[in-house]
Symmetry: D2
Subunit: 290 residues, 4 copies
């Protein structure tokens, strides 16, 4: 066991199901019979929702089969407990399409994490309604797709965006300060797969100009919220949040700057949780096995 | 100058006035002509409101006059700059009436700070609509006034409360988890002198059962807000705020416990700012010279 | 399953053992065969130490036996995996002896948490080398034992302290600002059962006058550390730590006050972890299943 | 006064001098006589050191003279109070030479802040002992100077570095993860002008491999410290510090990643304070007028 399980390929099993006894025993018994090595384990039961959640990581090489065989063998057990479940392979990097407008702080932060190997994703392309960030993105060897918006008719824009995302075979879409409201249709194609960063501590200051609202209300902390996008504006399941202290000395310009720092940190954490399959959504809430 | 200015009696000068040049020069010139020793100084100009704020502390013994003479001599200068102003003496402890219901966490915290000398106030009495905390308060040698509420007619309760506060000659009223809505009339008698602690990060979750609301919304941080009470529920000027991280593991019971810790810390800080005359209110906002 | 598992009696199983596969399967299989209801579960493997740790909570009434029978039935499994293990009953409150000197902030905080039901402990007595806090402790109905120290010969003091602790049948000894160094002998009688709060972010500023040291060094944050006491001063396994921002404006007196707030929060969290059997010590480190 | 003083050119006056009365009056009187508009003001007196510090910002266009005339007129006053003083012009961007090794997180963060206009500096060049980050730096249009180190004789390296810095006319040198110890001679040429980011909460874990040390000691928070470089390793005046919570779940790899996030945030804040002349050093400590 000299192997460092953190640095090896792992299978990630995510499960939610009606709570009952014997779930963990059955799952771990299943893993143990194949001499699987569990490198990380989380479980949680919501007593109100009577729902059980678990996420296990198993060192891939400790199991005698590939991902498909794993799923096939696991299926009967999943059916027995009426599980909503998923197994992924840490070696299969998720394909993340980034969408931006003109502001570069989140994009720049994510691209650093990507090129340094900190964020284990592929980025098939960056889509933007502006052309401003093309050169920076292309330096990274990533295609930049400029899809302008006609403000009087946004339908063609979103039609083109939809096609680009489909062509990119995106597993996840990251709205890294993409300042357009996503139409309901697109939300429904990618449920719990479109991640937004909102510049307030939701549910405070929903909608436009949250810093202006925050300054008006005289709050002493400003925040940011990373959430999945649903058809209801700024109301999807929250993945991660954080805040930053402000004082009367901070001008609106300062608040924008400080807010950007919170935004990029919160989005990076939320995206990491997502790509490592740590976020389980139920109702309008999340369990995050961080 | 071997004297520690932090441990000596000080005059505290608070000023707000229309912004113009020469204010600080005039004030400091005034202090310097009497050889006053400034031990702390803060100033701030809000460019949007065109309003200037300052708060100075001067070592009392370095000035050749008492508080009344100080005010008298300062008045012409104040008039010249159209100041709203106040000078207080750190040796004159403010009289703080505490109001509680059944929950003891804020009360217990404030009484510890009071009896250890950390909070420089007098507490003429604790007023409650319940009798539960009598023994604890009385151990401290502080009168406990039980004023029951008739839920079908709250008017007599608040009439009695008003009389008690008046009799106590309260400078500030601290709602240390007093779970009744203060009637407009009482708010108007004590503008910016009634301090409440609200168990959410306002403006999120205004009104009742904020933890329940927070749990429903799946937020990742819970907060507390210390604010002045105005006739609009939970909408008065914010003095201080803070948050505490929560996860799915935290039950509502945990959130209540964690929330209490934030509440008592935020209320204690907010009250300290108030009694040291560090809070200047303008519009519905505050400048806090912490 | 309408029962709230958080509010019912639970058995808490803590295990550390050499890492191998099948541990969780065996333990959960054992629980499942008796239809035990797992209400909380944590596990962790340290790849460097090749050691596995787990802590499970099981709803007591879901199992068909009492604590002694549970242990008896579990013993063969424990032996099989070479476990260091323990099972406790949440209904059996730990007996915590508090030791104090003159400062009341930690004591006051812990007593509030105790009398409000937030801290699930019994307090057989408070031991002090001074008589200052007697009245406050006795108001709570808790015996106060004054054991003076002869600074030229501390041996009789510690002899008496040892006897008092033994007579109190203490499960845990909490040094809530007890300002004496615990002799090695006493440390060895109660390994990982004496909890101290140290007023710095250890390992910074070991020993006396940490705020003075911190001010000298010009740090921008001050901290506190809750740790188990070992014979090496301030070097035992760390349970919990936190920090608080300070600025040049903060006098040493301010730092003491701010430091007290961190101290009491960190000690309360650390003690909670301990009494809920969430802390597993290995080497000079801890796993805290919070 | 419709002007936003935050967005206009300002003169920044920094002063430290023996504490006495009349300093602020004299300085503000000086400013007022020219109808100067003070847009920000901070002052502080250290009673132990009997030293007074102040920093004022004055809207440049409100004064009838340029920087040189300002200094000339101010000099007699400075002499009268025995001031160590400086006046700078916010429009004169400081020249910051960045020094890096192979790790890009701080560099990447600073370059984002620079190109987005958030950091008001000029970057004449980036100096490195490796060639790895050349392309990234050059994309920004900034010269990249590769100066290899001969580990058996570092003298030529530092000779070349010294010449490059001199040629660049650097106002400040930022060690953005430059992993070499700066020789005493270079420290003395640029006192309080070489800024380092150290990956621990100093004075904890001085020297090499701080995360390894932190993991050994089992700390619950990891930190970072931004400080001026002096000839004593990791012991110069601290500008800024912060910490980040870690748990047993965090591998050394996680700690490195989390530590990088703290490092880049702390360095960016510390550098901002420096370039805005907000840091006044005395003894081995700093006053930071943030």
């Amino acid at each position: 066991m000299a192997l460092d399980p953190q640095n090896t390929r792992r299978y990630r099993i995510s499960i939610s199901c009606p709570d009952t006894f014997g779930i963990v025993a059955a799952v771990t018994q299943f893993i143990a019979q194949y001499k699987g090595w569990i490198s990380e384990a989380h479980q949680f039961a919501d007593p109100e929702a009577c729902t059980f959640f678990m996420r296990y990581e198993v060192v891939a090489d400790s199991l005698p089969f590939d991902l498909d065989t794993f799923k096939e063998k696991f299926a009967p057990l999943a059916e027995q407990f009426n599980m909503t479940w998923n197994i992924t392979d840490s070696a299969e990097r998720k394909r993340a399409v980034l969408m931006v407008s003109k502001e570069a702080h989140c994009l720049s932060d994510l691209l650093y994490r990507w090129r340094s190997g900190e964020l284990n994703i592929d980025i098939p392309c960056v889509i933007s309604n502006h052309d401003d960030l093309r050169s920076y993105v292309e330096w990274h060897g990533i295609p930049y797709v400029h899809v302008p918006v006609d403000m009087s008719n946004k339908e063609p824009h979103f039609q083109a965006v939809r096609e680009q995302i489909a062509a990119a075979e995106a597993d996840v879409i990251v709205l890294a300060k993409y300042m357009q409201i996503i139409p309901e249709e697109l939300c429904e194609i990618y449920p719990n797969r479109i991640i937004n960063i909102h510049h307030s501590f939701l549910p405070s200051f929903i909608g436009a100009r949250p810093y202006h609202q925050a300054a008006e209300r005289g709050v002493k902390q400003i925040g940011a919220t990373c959430h999945y996008v649903t058809s209801e504006l700024d109301a999807g399941p929250i993945i991660e949040q954080d805040v930053q202290r402000v004082t009367h000395h901070n001008t609106t310009k300062d608040m924008v700057r400080l807010g950007k720092d919170v935004e990029k940190a919160v989005l990076a954490r939320g995206l990491r949780f997502h790509i490592e399959d740590r976020v389980l959504v139920y109702g309008n809430k999340t369990v995050v096995f961080a």
